[in-house]
Symmetry: C2
Subunit: 168 residues, 2 copies
Amino acid sequence: MGRGVIAEARSGCAINAAVEALGDHWSFLVLRDMIFGDRRYFRELLNGSIEGIASNILSDRLKKLVAAGLLTKEEAVRGRRVRYSLTEAGIQTLPILFALGNWGLDWREGTPELRTRQELMRAEGPAFIEELMDELRVHHLGAPPVERDGPGPLERLEAAYQRAAAKT
Amino acid sequence: MGRGVIAEARSGCAINAAVEALGDHWSFLVLRDMIFGDRRYFRELLNGSIEGIASNILSDRLKKLVAAGLLTKEEAVRGRRVRYSLTEAGIQTLPILFALGNWGLDWREGTPELRTRQELMRAEGPAFIEELMDELRVHHLGAPPVERDGPGPLERLEAAYQRAAAKT
DNA sequence: TCAGAGTGGTTGTATTATGCAATCACTACG
DNA sequence: CGTAGTGATTGCATAATACAACCACTCTGA
């Protein structure tokens, strides 16, 4: 594992280290949108966020996530779209987001469509997480495509969302 | 499940809901100390935290965690120790902390003793999480004690820490 | 009985982070 | 050549954080 970056950690605790790296509201939500929403550009993240992030905050978080080794940024040509990619460390935040989502599903309200998505993920279990991590490695790290029959994890997620939305 | 408290959520997303409830540095660390460090009193949390939380911040976070339904507080008799307990919702943040800790173990440095603890948990896998949640239900919710031969999860964690610390 | 330590905090102040709106320099496209 | 889109930055008001001092109360031991 590619350990590194002790940075200015407040302690040697692994939980604290993770919290220091990505422990604020917006960092989690940016990762969520990149992972589950397949958003990779500034404007996509800015307009696509259902919580409405401000552009200066997004700019700041992207910088911090790059500095923390969770994202990479393609060299910026001024005025041209810059693509952000997840690193392996970024991809491996998926189990954290999954755990957060499951907690939210059990203990908070939420829109039915989004609940359905989360329920699908929970129902498919750890295998879904692995499959999605593999797909992210293909898209973000250039790993060789996975052979599969049937729709990929992101497609199944989107389909679940659409099915649920259609019922209203 | 005891769903409730939509509160002033920014969106209907389960991940967002979890992040809103406990998505700041100190909330996570307070939960960590209560769950893994068995600390239940203001002074214990204040002095026991290796990151050094300030008393006004601790006061504020305890209040927020109670309001969010993750902790309960025994009715306060002035000048007498007040005990905080985890609710079921609080206990179920354990998988989140576990996921956070594993990420930190893989991608950040940390003291060898604390790394050993986290490695033990990972090695024992999901069964450890379940066992610890059961023990927390006994201590915090008054559930009937679990039958067990051999040391409980918190004892094994402490033992791993001591073994690692002795090697230095 | 009475000092000293311990209880869960509050208050004040300074510094830092956040949220919002407007703006900027640049490019791609018709 | 103009319009829309790119990734931001700037200024300003408000909120969160950190640090130290302090408070009213209780429990303990001599």
